[in-house]
């Protein structure tokens, strides 16, 4: 909260410290959600710019990390919606990997398997998997971020994991 109050008073060094503290968390969430690094960078900037504009109203009722994660998830979901409206599939960013080509397929490592399988997961399950497994938020925190009951988090987590298993089985990587 100290950094926030200093930032509200116009201390940009304090605001830089906030960005540096939460940058990796926000990157993990957004890149895992949307896959495309360039778009993720823009959305990441938007997360901090929105916070900068509204931090005067930030009362600290939620943890700053939770608050920023919520903004990151919401902006990522908006981006996914925008893409589907443009008739692009959510997996379009991963089409560079031609799984039918053995040569290219052999170069795909675990990281890309994660990207591929997450991209094939519906956004509602993806957001839970990203927050719980990739970012490591608790069930309670995930529920707060997504504004859903903890029971829903747990059921989406179970279904998401099941779907992930089906996806990676189909990808023939397991």
């Amino acid at each position: 909260m100290e950094l926030v109050s200093q930032s509200v008073q116009g201390n940009m060094t304090a605001f830089r410290a906030i960005i540096e503290k939460y940058e990796s968390m926000i990157a993990k969430i957004i890149i895992s959600m949307i896959g495309n690094k360039d778009d993720a960078d823009d959305i990441g900037q938007e997360v901090f710019i929105r916070f900068y504009k509204s931090m005067g109203n930030f009362k600290g009722e939620a943890k700053l990390g939770t608050y920023l994660a919520r903004t990151a998830i919401n902006l990522s979901l908006n981006e996914i919606k925008k893409r589907s409206k443009r008739w692009l599939t959510t997996t379009s960013n991963y089409n560079d990997y031609d799984l039918s080509s053995d040569e290219e397929a052999n170069t795909i490592d675990t990281k890309n398997i994660i990207n591929l399988s997450l991209a094939k997961l519906e956004p509602e399950f993806r957001s839970v998997i990203v927050l719980r497994h990739i970012q490591g938020f608790s069930t309670k925190e995930t529920a707060e971020i997504l504004h859903i009951p903890q029971g829903t988090v747990l059921s989406r987590l179970a279904r998401g994991q099941k779907k992930l298993k089906e996806i990676i089985t189909k990808l023939d990587v397991i």
Partner: protein
């Protein structure tokens, strides 16, 4: 394709998944904020204040016009506003126009 051993290993590898932004992310955010600040502090309020003055001048002109009409014509109806308050249909000037 490299295979993952089992689903548990895969779920474990999710927690080690650590993507990051390109270097200089904080600089890019701060630069963007400075740019937006520049826009909002310079151009937008200037435009707003200009718009406010133009709008206020317009309102003042309309009020003056209404007062002028009221004091010269002694009434504030549609005829007075159009300047035909003292004319009737059989007025020679209007009859000439209709002719």
């Amino acid at each position: 394709m490299k295979k993952v051993e089992n689903i548990d290993q895969f779920m474990k590898s999710l927690s080690n998944h650590n993507p990051s932004f390109e270097d200089g992310f904080a600089d890019r955010v701060l630069r963007e904020i400075e740019t937006e600040k520049g826009v909002s502090e310079d151009s937008y309020p200037e435009f707003l204040s200009l718009f406010r003055w133009i709008a206020l001048s317009g309102v003042a002109a309309i009020i003056i016009l209404l007062f002028t009409v009221y004091f010269t014509e002694g009434a504030m109806d549609v005829d007075a506003l159009f300047g035909v308050f003292n004319y009737s249909a059989d007025n020679p000037e209007l009859a000439y126009l209709n002719y």
